[in-house]
């Protein structure tokens, strides 16, 4: 059996090992260091100045400002104070870690002073640092992943919105083609007796096919939508031209339904810097919409009024249909109205959303005026182009 008393004596090997990793100091009730051993002195703010007989909070930066708390321990109002993993730079550019603790020297008589206990915890500290580092890096990666994921999600949503927009747009020219082809087929046996001029009808069918073709181009240009772009080709145009063309087409198709479509414009050209195909798209949607609600009789009027004083052109699409209740007017331009829980698109919301999007891209504005039973008027204003 080894001799017990000498095991922890100042000269023992065990004491030597302990003092290379730990430090203890006795602090009196005035917070002055009375004695110090082990690594205490070398961790002091100025290692070359003897810590004994100095205030403890002035010897260690970690304890600066903690004087009140130290008094609380001395008063027995706080059991102890611990600071874990205090970082200290080492000679080789790395970090060593230390735990600092302040405890009553006598558990029953705290007023007798305190023990400052310092322990070198570098090995555990580095392990811990490694674990935390990996955990944090993992969290950062997770955050980046979920960000990328939600971006993908909205991109995907944008694509399906575009697809539905496109599908909706394809329908209007296709219905013109179908109607005309049907008419021609019915009179195919005897063109001479047909009330329709074959040359005229075929040219309309062709025109609509060209229009369809351009829409399909849009669908194929999906990558543009990925960048949030909706292609617009601005040029100097007489806005009446595309509008008249669409009115013309509808006049022929709708005459069979006893719906009149008229155009009121000005003799002179009304110049704008705009995209004629997009203006046609607006007209298709608004006239088509009116036609849908008019049933078997009614009037649709497209009016173009140049307002050079206000620097704008007002285009109104008016009908004498059933009108739209006020509370529905606000939601009219929202992207497809979805009933809660269901993901079905309502028919009209899409077209008006396209109309609004295009109008805004053409630097214009759109509004609606309607009363139930009094008809509906969609008013679009576009910037006018003054040509000297």
């Amino acid at each position: 059996m080894p001799p017990q008393p000498s095991f922890f004596s100042n000269e023992s090997r065990a004491f030597e090992l302990l003092s290379s990793r730990m430090g203890v100091a006795h602090i009196n009730s005035d917070q002055i260091i009375e004695s110090a051993q082990g690594i205490t002195q070398q961790l002091a703010l100025s290692p070359e100045v003897e810590v004994v007989s100095q205030p403890v909070s002035e010897c260690f930066v970690e304890l600066f400002g903690l004087e009140e708390m130290i008094d609380l321990i001395l008063a027995g109002e706080l059991p102890f104070l611990e600071l874990q993993e205090v970082n200290r730079p080492n000679d080789v550019g790395g970090i060593d870690y230390f735990d600092f603790g302040l405890y009553p020297a006598d558990k029953n008589k705290p007023n007798d002073g305190l023990i400052l206990f310092i322990e070198n915890t570098t090995s555990q500290g580095r392990l811990m640092q490694n674990v935390i580092q990996q955990r944090n890096e993992l969290r950062l990666t997770q955050q980046e992943l979920s960000k990328a994921n939600s971006e993908l999600h909205s991109l995907n949503e944008l694509k399906s919105i575009f697809l539905s927009m496109a599908a909706h747009d394809l329908r209007s020219p296709l219905s013109v083609i179908t109607t005309y082809s049907d008419l021609m087929l019915n009179s195919a046996d005897n063109f001479d007796n047909s009330p329709f001029e074959p040359k005229y009808v075929f040219s309309r069918i062709l025109e609509q096919s060209i229009w369809l073709n351009s829409l399909i181009d849009d669908i194929l240009n999906l990558n543009m939508i990925e960048q949030g772009k909706f292609p617009i080709e601005m040029e100097k145009i007489d806005v009446q031209e595309p509008l008249k063309a669409v009115v013309n087409q509808f006049q022929h198709v709708l005459s069979t339904r006893n719906i009149s479509v008229s155009f009121i414009g000005s003799e002179d050209a009304v110049w704008a810097f705009a995209d004629k195909n997009r203006i046609k798209q607006i007209a298709f949607n608004l006239i088509g919409n009116s036609a849908k609600f008019l049933g078997d009789a009614g009037n649709i009027t497209v009016t173009v009024s140049p307002l050079p004083e206000q620097h704008e052109i007002k285009i109104s699409f008016a009908d004498d249909g059933p009108g739209i209740p006020k509370q529905q007017q606000e939601r009219l331009f929202q992207l497809f109205y979805r009933t809660p829980g269901a993901s079905k698109f309502s028919g009209t919301g899409l077209g008006l959303y396209i109309v609004k999007t295009i109008t805004e891209r053409l630097d214009g504005e759109i509004s609606v005026e309607s009363e139930p039973g009094e008809g509906t008027s969609f008013n679009i204003t576009l910037p006018i182009l003054i040509v000297e």
Partner: protein, 169 residues
């Protein structure tokens, strides 16, 4: 000119740039690699406030960030004269953490001390996820001015620490 020593603490979510801000402010250096801080690291930096005729010696406590805010207890915050709260403008949840820290702060200290908010990594403005309005809102809520900063370019770093120094003295 009299010399005063003051303790200030940096608080904020992990990897928002607390250690980098201290390094930029104290040593004028920046490192792109990330080394998570554990525990507490104390740095010292003299700041001269000539208008107030004070040579301030700042003891800057860099506390490990993350969800371990509960570990940010009285032992760490006691005696602090001010706090720099840091968020990373490219990660929106780092702003939410500021409110958590502010609550922890009042709970532990049982009194209010000056706070400055640094909206860090402003060099990465194109990846921004936190806007001015959100910063204004938290700024009002915890009664602390906010500034943009970049530990990388150094922009706003000195200003941030000086603003707090002036609030302390």
């Amino acid at each position: 000119m009299k010399t005063i020593q003051k303790k200030i603490c940096l608080l904020g979510d992990f990897s928002v740039g607390k250690s980098s801000l201290v390094r930029q402010f104290v040593e004028g250096q920046f490192d792109d690699s990330y080394l998570s801080t554990i525990g507490v690291k104390i740095s010292r930096k003299p700041v001269e406030l000539s208008e107030k005729e004070v040579a301030l010696n700042l003891l800057i406590w860099d506390l490990a960030g993350g969800d371990d805010y509960s570990k940010v207890t009285s032992g760490y915050l006691a005696g602090a004269a001010g706090v720099v709260m840091v968020c990373d403008i490219t990660r929106k949840n780092t702003l939410l953490m500021l409110e958590v820290y502010s609550k922890q702060l009042t709970k532990v200290l049982k009194k209010e001390i000056p706070i400055v908010i640094l909206a860090n990594k402003c060099d990465l403005i194109e990846n921004r996820e936190i806007d001015d309005a959100q910063l204004d809102k938290i700024s009002e809520k915890i009664n602390a001015p906010w500034h943009f900063s970049s530990a990388k370019t150094g922009e706003g770093v000195e200003t941030g620490f000086r603003t707090l120094s002036n609030l302390i003295i």
